[in-house]
Symmetry: C2
């Protein structure tokens, strides 16, 4: 892959409308924004001062969920806007696009989206479930991941970064500080795009994400969610991870 | 696989020689006990009151490292013994056998060991390194792991549990409390064997390991170490993970 920086803070974001001390205010499309992960991350992004467009197959469904999220943000100082649109329309004008869709049908959907010039954030977890629990699906014979699939589809027109795979949807929609002890692992091949997403993580956990390496490590970060689901079932909790040693 | 419990607290451990309040005192062979991970875990196990035999290809090398570990435990109340032997001799009389060997040559070595009747703990991480950093090796087309390979080799004669994959060797040989904020993910298909290993984790981190699901999830837990190595290089730390949500 020949990587190129896509959206950067200089080209596609709004410095004038500041989202907080030193924070860039993004316009973020959430593809699959009516699912629990997309809705929860959209809520956190808007709460952090970014303008969010929740996308769905049907605009009216997206608008209904957006209204619910916006309601929750009434009175929250500095919150961004939350609106709804079709997935494709949501991407128009966005500098960041979060893919929060099931793996099933992922490639076909991504191919239809107008992603050129954006930084694409993938939190997609290709998992399978059977009577023994959750486990990771094998992508491209073990040499691939959802994030790498998205990058392959968009080619040089956009940059894909992996993040937010291991955050619980329940926690995202929960109390303000429930994510304060969790870390977001961020993987990507383009430094500038990765740093943009690491900074965005602060709107979710209160501090930047962790640079966890190249995009191919999404092969490890995505199916780690199967382990967390297994822990959740065993202990009846909503687990995530924190990286120790800092 | 037809699983069967191998070593249990009733058959292969010594209740009389108690390693602490309610703790079972194990005899633990560390195959590959002169490498950093094996030596470090052997040290922690012995510090926790278990009797440890460090194994190596050459007995004299194992004895020298064992002497170094034993020296460090002089004056530590309740510490177990640490001796050295060949890998095969180390396994004789052990109820727990830790595999702390490189993936390269793993299967051939495991096939030579007298493991019948033991609980085998695998901390083996099949990783590859290139100019872009560490990444997980694809085992059995993505449908396997080192732990599952070991189980396949020992068949029904022993039970394999995966644990201690993500603990830093530097931390293991470091200060007493450096691991106090880390969690050990434990995977396995036999409840009793898994619980034995979860309890053993307390000698390393100060509290039991976390039941992270079935043995096949070793496919996710083993290569997670590649992500931690990537983080270590980026931030110059010795990272591990903590599970949040408890």
């Amino acid at each position: 892959m020949t990587s190129q920086p896509a959206a950067t803070s200089e080209t596609a974001t709004d410095h004038d409308a500041d989202a907080g001390a030193g924070t860039v205010r993004h316009r973020i499309a959430v593809v699959g924004g009516t699912g629990p992960q997309g809705k929860g991350l959209g809520y956190r992004f808007a709460r952090g001062g970014h303008d969010v467009v929740l996308g769905s197959r049907a605009a009216d469904k997206a608008e209904a969920v957006a209204a619910e999220v916006a309601d929750r943000l009434v009175g929250v100082e500095g919150a961004g806007t939350v609106t709804g649109a079709t997935n494709a329309d949501a991407c128009a004008g966005a500098d960041l696009v979060l893919l929060a869709v099931p793996w099933d049908g992922h490639d076909e959907l991504v191919a239809t989206l107008p992603l050129a010039g954006t930084t694409v954030i993938s939190c997609v977890n290709p998992l399978a479930f059977d009577k023994r629990g959750a486990h990771g699906l094998v992508i491209d014979g073990g040499e691939g991941s959802a994030a790498e699939s998205a990058q392959r589809i968009v080619g040089d027109s956009a940059t894909v970064v992996g993040a937010f795979h291991n955050v619980s949807a329940v926690s995202l929609w929960g109390d303000d500080d429930v994510l304060a002890h969790e870390d977001v692992l961020v993987v990507g091949d383009v430094k500038e795009a990765k740093e943009t997403v690491m900074a965005l993580c602060a709107s979710v956990t209160g501090r930047p994400g962790i640079d966890a390496g190249k995009l191919r490590l999404a092969r490890q970060v995505e199916p780690l969610t199967a382990v967390l689901i297994s822990i959740n079932r065993r202990y009846k909790i909503h687990s995530s991870i924190k990286v120790t040693g800092f």
